[in-house]
């Protein structure tokens, strides 16, 4: 399944594709950057709901967007992370910078 990018106020929601590789990451990066030029985005949610595979290109995509919003005091969230994705995120050290979205939702 394909990806989707939606902005609402200072939030950007990025529904990731079934397999997030270098080819897909480049397309998503382009669209996310376009949205970030049109809206002032502080918070980004990367939603893995339909994603079954991610390689290191996804790490670059997420880290890059973290750099974009962190300077604004923003935050990057990850949502619907399955076991495989958890392994990839842990191995890459990405959990040091991203916050599981479900933690936020359940603590509200």
């Amino acid at each position: 399944m394909d990806y989707e990018v939606k902005a609402s106020d200072d939030f950007l929601w990025v529904l990731l594709p079934t397999e997030l590789d270098h080819y897909q990451a480049d397309r998503i990066r382009q669209e996310v950057k376009d949205e970030m030029r049109e809206h002032i985005i502080k918070y980004i949610v990367f939603d893995f709901k339909q994603t079954t595979m991610m390689d290191s290109s996804g790490i670059g995509l997420i880290t890059g967007r973290y750099r974009d919003v962190a300077s604004q005091g923003g935050q990057v969230y990850v949502s619907h992370v399955d076991d495989h994705m958890k392994k990839v995120l842990t191995l890459s050290g990405l959990y040091r910078i991203v916050v599981p979205w479900e933690h936020i939702v359940s603590s509200v």
């Binding site: 990066r29 079954t52 390689d55 290191s56 995509l61 191995l91």
Partner: protein, 161 residues
């Protein structure tokens, strides 16, 4: 049951073929009934090796980042189909061996290239995690390379241990 099998394919070094390579390897090992996790691991490893061949071996991204336009909009210049990647796989018992070969620029210092977080393309949002992922998601990784001639990555993974 012990299966012996082999398959070799060659394709141009373009981004669309990353998913093609993953699908081919997945179908090749289907007879071993891999778990979803084993399949995801194998897909990541294949994806890393093929992506490296495209963006480092053949530097196919330089057009994209020089002009800021996606490859698709640049016509033939951005997609040199003479740049071929060879994907070979073999099966012996429960062990699948996948090798990915490019005839691109090669790697000067393999040990350094394989260090976690080492990347020569930080400007293109590479994280330097590719080789670490190949190592973590397979049972064995071998890299051989000759500067100016190309690179071969060989990975072995045992399915259903």
């Amino acid at each position: 049951m012990s299966i012996t099998n082999e398959l070799v394919v060659e394709f141009p070094a373009i981004g669309e073929n990353e998913s093609l390579a993953r699908v081919i390897v997945s179908v090749f090992v289907a007879g071993l009934n891999p778990t979803i996790e084993e399949l995801s691991d194998l897909k990541v490893a294949v994806s890393e090796a093929v992506t490296n061949a495209i963006i480092h071996g053949y530097d196919s991204e330089k057009y994209l980042y020089d002009t800021g336009k996606p490859e698709q909009e640049q016509g033939a210049a951005g997609r040199d189909i003479a740049n071929q990647i060879r994907l070979a796989m073999s099966l012996e018992g429960r062990t699948v061996t996948v090798s990915v070969t490019d005839h691109g620029c090669g790697i000067e210092d393999i040990d350094r290239a394989m260090e976690p977080l080492y990347t020569t393309k930080p400007d293109q949002e590479r994280s330097g995690m590719g080789f670490s992922f190949m190592e973590a998601f397979t049972n064995e990784l071998q890299v051989s390379s000759t500067p100016g001639q190309g690179t071969t990555v060989i990975m072995k993974k045992v399915i259903g241990e």
